[in-house]
Symmetry: C2
Subunit: 397 residues, 2 copies
């Protein structure tokens, strides 16, 4: 039932490392040191505990503490066993790694780890490589797109099951639990990783009626009440009522890669302003699909979406309301759910072939509820390719 | 069905802040700046996006970006609205906050955030407060213990349901999915937070037969194969077989607080060495329960456990095998699952009343499987109090 996952092919790892080396040369950085688990998986094919050194020229060196045998089995690089960080200076020297400027992931490496590394390699000058890594990771290979599509299959299967579980009187969190279980049984990897301090995302948010208009800390059009103030996102114990929109935001993960999609459901029938907002969401999607392709500037996509919302008189409700309103309509996806490109007001760098993003025109009505749709797209030279298919109608059931 | 969560009481927040202030005075630190979401929740009662300044004397100042209304509703402190970090220097000055030495959470704050703060407050000298915060958080109040017990109730209910779902031929991951769903429906908060770089933990691991002897990157006696190399922990697609041990490690979360317990199950009957190892696990627990109390040194508990394993000829299997063996038999719990105290070889600081830890004597047999039990304890002056009750027999079904 669950498709066994693929190991990352050797040529894939080679190409990723070559792309990073090109950037290192451009930025005059001698060596990159990769420490975060997701970046390690990206550049080595394994998430086992280790440190990867990529010189601007020559072969990468991958030290592994635990689990060594597993790293050897999974990574096309040849891991070298190292018992502890203390050994690193000696081993680095043995491997002939040298340099003065060393790039690191400043956006995720904690100060204490940074200081530890600095203590071991006192002569190095450290530079931030976060942006360069995010840039490289934003363009996906066909191998990566295949993984994302498999995650998309889980999402599609889960949404197709909603009709068997959604009913008046079921709580948001119980529906959430059932959909989580369905996804997991289909091979959902459980984690939806999100990059950076304090970033965390649940697999599913089931928000009905006014739950969907509850704002929270997250940089999302709706965040939901959650079950308690320590979590403060997602489904609540609220019972689902007739004729109120139920928005289900579901992220699946397969072999590290994630998708993030939203559908709107209802038990009974929706009225305006929800019906109208659903149509406007579809209009925004139609506009994206007719004009989106490599070379298009994300800020322009965001502006067009905003204009369509404005014209429909729904600008105050577009992508949240009041203080909860966000200034983007889409975000990149891959091994993490907050990758580049962001389809936002400020993003002027054009889309490139192989970028993958979630596009999510959503409308929030304070105290009443929210509707919207979210669909994932792959950027191609000539247009956009959908990761999954969504129904013609926004609202189903 | 789901108990509504409590807000953190004012006196609770006050006492936590007072404890931190006492440490600041001792360490001659003028001001603490708290940025991580879990520490923010601990010291403010809300996890909304903000920055908390705690001077060594006087009132804390809590700035909030988003969601301000929610922070006001949840926190007994009086949050002040701040649009962005850029405003902080001006606002900090307005609030009369001053100092030279400023403490921060070096173990979780990324370099880029640290540099940003350093850029805003150029005159400050930053000190690491991680250890002090972990120390304070390691001693729980009765309010916190009540939350942990509620998380324990979820664990107990989930384990009591295993018999209705465990059967020959079900996959580990399908059983995992069902147990996840049962917990979530009972109000599980979904996240099991873990502190530090690359630390992540699933809610449940279902490991049958040889799956439980697969080692991985995590610092745990067994980690499991997981579904793919990007995740590399937890349940696999393996079908559960008769007469093989099934270890289920389940963590529940309620109002931020977590529990972490393990039971061993079997369809059919276990043979030696598993039966013997189960008995030794119970012997180790009996030893802990007879001698554990405030004042006892964790290293001594670990040594005693190791001696009992040694005497039974199971030292090579105790807490993992080969490279996968870990040098602890328990770990602190609270808002994160890797808190202090660690019941390890090296931990010489005595247990204090109010500490809460998971104790997990486990035995791993390479290529065959693992058995064990994990139970959470509250440290009292006169002994240990169990968070949940576990059955007299390790193996059930």
């Amino acid at each position: 039932m669950i498709t066994p996952s693929e190991l990352t092919p050797r040529e894939e790892i080679h190409s990723r490392i070559t792309r990073l080396q090109k950037v290192l040369v451009e930025k005059e950085i001698d060596l990159a040191l990769i420490l975060q688990n997701v970046d390690l998986y990206y550049f080595t094919g394994t998430i086992q505990n280790g440190q990867l050194f990529i010189p601007c020229q020559g072969q990468p060196v991958f030290f592994v503490q635990k689990d060594f045998a597993r790293a050897v089995a999974e990574s096309p690089l040849k891991p070298l066993k190292v018992e502890s960080l203390k050994e690193l200076p000696k081993r680095v020297q043995e491997q002939g790694l040298s340099g003065k400027k060393v790039g690191m992931e400043f956006d995720v490496v904690p100060v204490s780890v940074f200081n530890r590394i600095g203590g071991l390699f006192g002569e190095w000058e450290f530079k931030d490589l976060s942006r360069e890594i995010k840039q490289i990771r934003s363009v996906k290979s066909e191998f990566e797109i295949r993984q994302i599509k498999k995650a998309g299959e889980i999402v599609t299967r889960v949404f197709s099951e909603v009709k068997n579980h959604l009913q008046e009187g079921i709580s948001e969190v119980e529906l959430d639990a059932r959909l989580t279980s369905i996804g997991r049984t289909l091979g959902h990897q459980f984690f939806l990783r999100m990059r950076g301090l304090n970033q965390e995302m649940m697999n599913v948010h089931v928000l009905s009626g006014k739950s969907a208009s509850v704002t929270t800390y997250s940089d999302t059009p709706f965040g939901g009440p959650g079950l308690n103030p320590a979590i403060a996102q997602g489904s609540s114990a609220r019972l689902i009522e007739r004729d109120q929109p139920v928005v289900i935001d579901y992220g699946a993960g397969y072999n590290g890669y994630v998708t993030d999609e939203t559908r709107t459901f209802v038990v009974g029938r929706l009225k305006d302003p929800f019906i109208k907002a659903c149509q406007v969401a579809l209009d925004i999607i139609a506009e994206l699909e007719s004009s989106g392709r490599a070379g298009v500037v994300p800020a322009r996509i965001y502006e067009r979406a905003q204009e369509i919302a404005e014209k429909a008189g729904l600008r105050p409700n577009f992508m949240g309301h009041g203080d909860g309103q966000v200034v983007f309509v889409g975000h990149g996806l891959g091994l993490e759910i907050n990758e580049w490109p962001v389809i936002s007001k400020g993003e002027k760098r054009p889309l490139q072939p192989g970028m993958v993003f979630a596009f999510e025109p959503k409308f929030v009505f304070p105290g009443e509820g929210a509707v919207g749709i979210e669909c994932d797209y792959i950027v191609r030279e000539s247009g956009l390719e959908r990761v999954t298919q969504f129904p013609k109608e926004v609202v189903t059931l």
